[in-house]
Subunit: 336 residues, 2 copies
DNA sequence: GTGAAAGCGCTAACAG
DNA sequence: CTGTTAGCGCTTTCAC
């Protein structure tokens, strides 16, 4: 009725608890026949080590936390997948927490993670509440940011400002003179800020004016109406740099529902290079993010810090910034 | 240096461990001032209950397992998100496991989950290895399938065969007489079988012949070549029912890369109704799946079975099947 | 090489 | 209403 424990195995194989423990953990100096007997007992009973007990005793769990703003965004779904894979490979199980980008949910889930005594946490989104990170570090659980930047923790991310500059320079190179910025609808605060900075920087360097930031309503109809109005005047932007691909997809959609066409009437550049962006029907020009590298290096960093254990801040590094690359597709063209 | 424990709280507030435990667990019959003192100590120390210890003692963790075949598929990403939300609301943390549809990864991750002593697991994909489920049930951890069907566990899913029939009947109604089936590339064994069954059933009822199943290569170039060949003859299918939306997107893409156009030269119906399917550029006709209902009912079922605890199979139900609905968009039209 | 013993941090009777 | 007690299943010295 109750799950077999190490005691049951010990009894059945006629050795002591500790011997069983030794074979489970693959200790050295074990008589071969002892090991065999124990192993036999283990699978006769279908014994499975209890990670709860082990973690309690070791004061170190095999759990990692993963905080995601919006799992529904393919970019984050892919990062999540990759991180889970790497974690599993290292023997860790991943507790996933979606925050919907909200600070409250984030705080609550973060608390959950700390109670579960995760050994570390990966943030794919951070609302900026520094106390959270402080409480984690104080509890000795390292935090790393992947594809999100904050000075509160180690992070590995793309150079957002540079990516934005690439995007805007591409548009400028095509001949666009009024290039607007459309922030992504899920506020990745830091990324948005950096991308917006890159945008104005590129404009400034080219000596071009800076059109108003285009904030669109969340729901589809409102978006179309707002866009129709925006695009009406003679000074309407002809090029748009959008904060991320998902938003860019919606943006193009809304634009085209107003009767305009991309790239004929307006050019659009996204950010992330999610899978659908390369579909023939979509062909979105965008800034590529190397998800595999981000995930791998993020996990490496986290595991290193977990391993480094109590020898304090030893592991703390400056933020690692990857070089962005632009992928030119068919959503951009010279202005009319 | 080490995290504060219940003992530290007890000492600081001058009461015993159990009293602290009582206030944490919100026991009744507590003197108000005792509670206050303890509460004060708790946040002075920044105490956080250790879920590991609690779970060990209670022989019941606050962890749920979530097994996903492909988190990269927006349909599963959304289900995962919803399930995590519901789980969190019920106080459970969700351990996510991607299997890539492989039986080996599934077995390995499933083992991980059982070692972590999850209280239950939700399968969004199942490779069919019944021993896994048996080992879980024997360890007293209930398993439910959401949007996947298998007789080994409780499940809540759409009626796949009926959905397939709707799709095919829609094509037939439009005048298509050669309607082929394109299985999804990630083999959801049971769903694929049921959808294929629904497809032939609809064809049979209409007295139409059954074209060969269209199995396409995984990589893009191969797909295009294979399709070009398939579409070449005079008896090429004019209507296609594709196993899921992601595959349908790729299918349309490949078709159009051969120089054909959808829906002019061929009609395509998908399955799932993922978000991108409704984009103006895509407008994929598809079978809608009520993700919210699936997730909610799946979790309800799981929590019920967890709660039902040892009073055995009491909770075991027949599979619940939801009615599918077709969403007609612009990827289907009468044949030329 | 193997066993005995002392906890890890918490809960849950059961006394007081 | 609060404290005492006995573990949950495992790891880890330290003797034998």
């Amino acid at each position: 009725l109750h799950q077999p424990t190490i005691n049951d195995v010990a009894r059945l194989s006629g050795v002591s608890k500790s011997t069983v423990s030794n074979v489970i953990r693959g200790a050295e100096y074990l008589a071969d026949d002892t090991r065999e007997r124990v192993l036999a007992a283990i699978d006769e009973l279908g014994y499975r080590p209890n990670a709860l007990a082990r973690s309690l005793q070791r004061r170190q769990s095999a759990l990692l936390g993963l905080v995601v703003g919006d799992l529904t965004n393919p970019f984050y779904a892919e990062l999540s997948l990759l991180i889970e894979q790497h974690a599993a490979q290292a023997g860790y199980a991943t507790i996933i927490c979606n925050t919907d980008g909200g600070a409250e949910a984030e705080r609550k889930k973060f608390g959950l993670l700390l109670e579960q005594r995760v050994s570390g946490v990966v943030m794919l989104h951070f609302s900026g509440e520094h106390e959270l990170i402080a409480s984690a570090e104080q509890a000795n659980v390292p935090v790393v940011g992947v594809s999100t930047y904050d000075r509160a923790f180690d992070c590995i991310a793309i150079d957002d400002a540079k990516g934005a500059r690439l995007a805007v320079e591409h548009l400028i190179g095509l001949g666009h003179e009024r290039v607007a910025y459309v922030p992504s609808s899920y506020p990745e605060a830091s990324a948005n800020a950096a991308r917006s900075r890159g945008w104005s920087e590129a404009l400034r360097r080219a000596g071009l004016p800076r059109p108003a930031v285009v904030n669109l309503p969340d729901e589809a109809d409102g978006r179309v109406a707002a866009l129709a109005e925006l695009m009406d005047g003679p000074d309407a932007p002809t090029g748009f740099f959008v904060g991320n691909d998902v938003t860019a997809l919606h943006f193009v959609d809304a634009l085209e529902r107003t009767g305009l066409s991309v790239p004929r009437d307006a050019s659009v550049v996204g950010f992330d290079d999610i899978a659908v962006a390369s579909l023939g029907r979509i062909e979105l020009t965008t800034i590529h993010q190397p998800t595999h590298v981000l995930a791998r290096r993020g996990i490496e960093r986290l595991l290193y810090r977990i391993g480094a254990g109590s020898d304090s801040k030893s592991g703390r590094n400056g933020p690692a910034r990857m070089k962005p690359q632009i992928v030119v597709r068919a959503s951009t063209a010279p202005p009319r």
